[in-house]
Subunit: 355 residues, 2 copies
């Protein structure tokens, strides 16, 4: 497979688009947890119950059209190879949980992969909607439209007092998790994230690494989301998150400004050394690659690097993951083989850009 073809398969089309504040906010995501009324929730359901849900969903929505998003595509997770499952997780189309409990699970995807609806995850339905940059309000409106569209054929488990009912009590109420993926290299370099994270947690928000709970902030990318789903309206939840994200954007901008003023040459040195490493290394571990990609992306944002697009960070952060590398090689690879292929793909990708 040529790298160009692979890339166009590998990267969700929406990832290449720009959005507001996209120098810092890479993407906005809304996730809604929903369950069918009068059906056992997935965690304790029997296989035939799960199968019923899956079949109903496939029959109702396979190839259906939703607004201008083109034909929806339904995928049974059990039909995916182990490597394909990894790739779906690395593209954030499905959760690791769904990949691990694949027997009766599925996902409905829009053409641009901006909408993904997981079936029989922890809840019957997990509606996800992504937008590039910082646009949580718009993402919430669009997620509601998807929700309304599904509701035309489904009656949700809903309680007048408690709102949407979910498997895990932490999701009850709105069933909403709003999150943004932020690139915060300057706040990380200046050690401010260590101080800010506990403060953000105290506001009822959670700070995580790029691949969710427990994952390290590879490449200085942080996922920030609401913890509380109950007792507040969806609108309030999103506004509270927006307010914190806006402040972080402002602080990151200030930290970048300070770095360029006070440590200009050191910063430039760090950025260009990382650029050189990505362009020339022959063996590279994912952690080093992520750090270098973060530096290069910062260099692009600050105008030091002019021959690479901003989207290179988003693209390559996905491309360098183990699942993708093995998908590209079309076989499983040892750690060392992955490090060699990772270096080679990064070089090729950057070379494409120069030509």
């Amino acid at each position: 497979m040529s790298l160009e073809k692979f890339m166009s398969d590998a990267i969700s089309p929406w990832m290449k688009e720009n959005g507001p504040d996209c120098d810092i906010v890479m993407s906005s995501r809304i996730r809604l947890a929903r369950n069918f009324e009068n059906r056992t929730f997935p965690l304790i359901a029997k296989a035939e119950d799960l199968d019923d849900v899956l079949n109903f969903f496939q029959d109702s929505y396979q190839d259906a059209s939703f607004k201008d998003r083109g034909q929806m595509q339904f995928v049974r997770i059990a039909d995916l190879s182990p490597i394909e499952k990894k790739v779906f997780v690395e593209k954030h189309l499905i959760s690791p949980h769904l990949a691990e409990h694949a027997e009766e699970a599925g996902v409905l995807l829009s053409e641009s992969e901006q909408v993904s609806i997981m079936v029989n995850e922890e809840d019957h339905l997990r509606i996800q909607l992504y937008l590039p940059g910082f646009q949580l309000q718009k993402a919430l409106q669009e997620a509601f439209e998807v929700d309304d569209w599904l509701e035309q054929k489904i009656t949700y488990a809903f309680d007048e007092e408690r709102g949407y009912l979910t498997t895990c009590p932490t999701n009850v109420g709105t069933g909403l998790r709003a999150s943004v993926m932020m690139h915060l290299p300057a706040l990380t370099m200046t050690h401010q994230m260590n101080r800010l994270t506990p403060a953000i947690n105290q506001l009822g928000l959670v700070v995580r690494g790029i691949y969710g709970e427990g994952s390290e902030a590879q490449g200085n990318i942080y996922q920030i989301s609401n913890q509380i789903t109950l007792g507040k309206s969806e609108q309030d939840i999103v506004e509270d998150l927006e307010s914190v994200v806006s402040q972080l954007v402002e602080q990151e901008r200030q930290a970048r400004q300070t770095l360029t003023e006070e440590l200009s040459i050191q910063l430039e040195d760090r950025i260009f050394r990382s650029y050189g490493t990505l362009r020339y290394s022959r063996i590279i571990e994912s952690k080093e690659a992520a750090t270098c990609l973060s530096d290069v992306r910062l260099g692009i944002d600050l105008g030091y690097i002019e021959d690479m697009p901003q989207s290179i960070l988003n693209e390559l952060m996905v491309l360098i993951q183990p699942g993708f590398l093995q998908h590209y090689a079309n076989r499983s690879l040892s750690g060392r083989e992955r490090d060699v292929l990772r270096a080679s793909l990064i070089r090729e990708r950057m070379h494409l850009e120069n030509n």
Copy 2:
């Protein structure tokens, strides 16, 4: 000053030429220590005695022609600025000792800078002759020709039994120091130099770094020379050194072969990371630069890097020295300023090569 102009001033013309085994032996040097008969040797001489020697030498040889080497140029060290003195040392045209005792000292240089005759160093005369690559025999013959040419007007201090008389007893006899500059990255990487150095010392030879006694082997460059000057003919001294150098050349070739066979991808990774560092860093210390240059030179020798000439190592090893950097900047520089200018010159030099 443009870098191209500076380079052509900075690098001795002979350094750009190739010689036998020049993938490993960078240069061959013969040095002959000579003193005037009936004059006090420099170490204990009065200023007027030294001045006499200097004036005689200047009157006799300034603008003289020697064979096809063009006009000789005489330089009084006292006329050089502190930075120019450093540059002369870094080009190996004069010794650090001569630069430090500059009052009554001089140097006679051939156009290509292959012949340099220091006046009033530890001895009245120190004749140096350089050739590219491994050609000690030829260098010895040419040094003898210079010696004969000088002897037409000078009577040397010579004793039938002891040979040429010198200030330091370690030079008495032939007054000869033969040396080669070798690039031994593979023997260094495989830790064989630690084992070989004491064995070479036991044969009456000395292993040093690129800038002589006590200097570290920056850039995996080693200077190997004879210790003994008495009791052997010049021919024998050179043959003994040649024999050891030939063996080292052979062992370095074998070590390179083994490295490429057993650690191919690791070696390539190391070489190209160094290449990337040189091409993109904005701050670089001389030690790191020397290591990277050594890696890149090895990469050229092994055919991994095709867009750079072999001579880049020899050139840049001189160019990155503090004296040169300050000569280029035309003022004295702090350590950090040097690191920034070093990185900038290396980038520019490599860029010239690509265009």
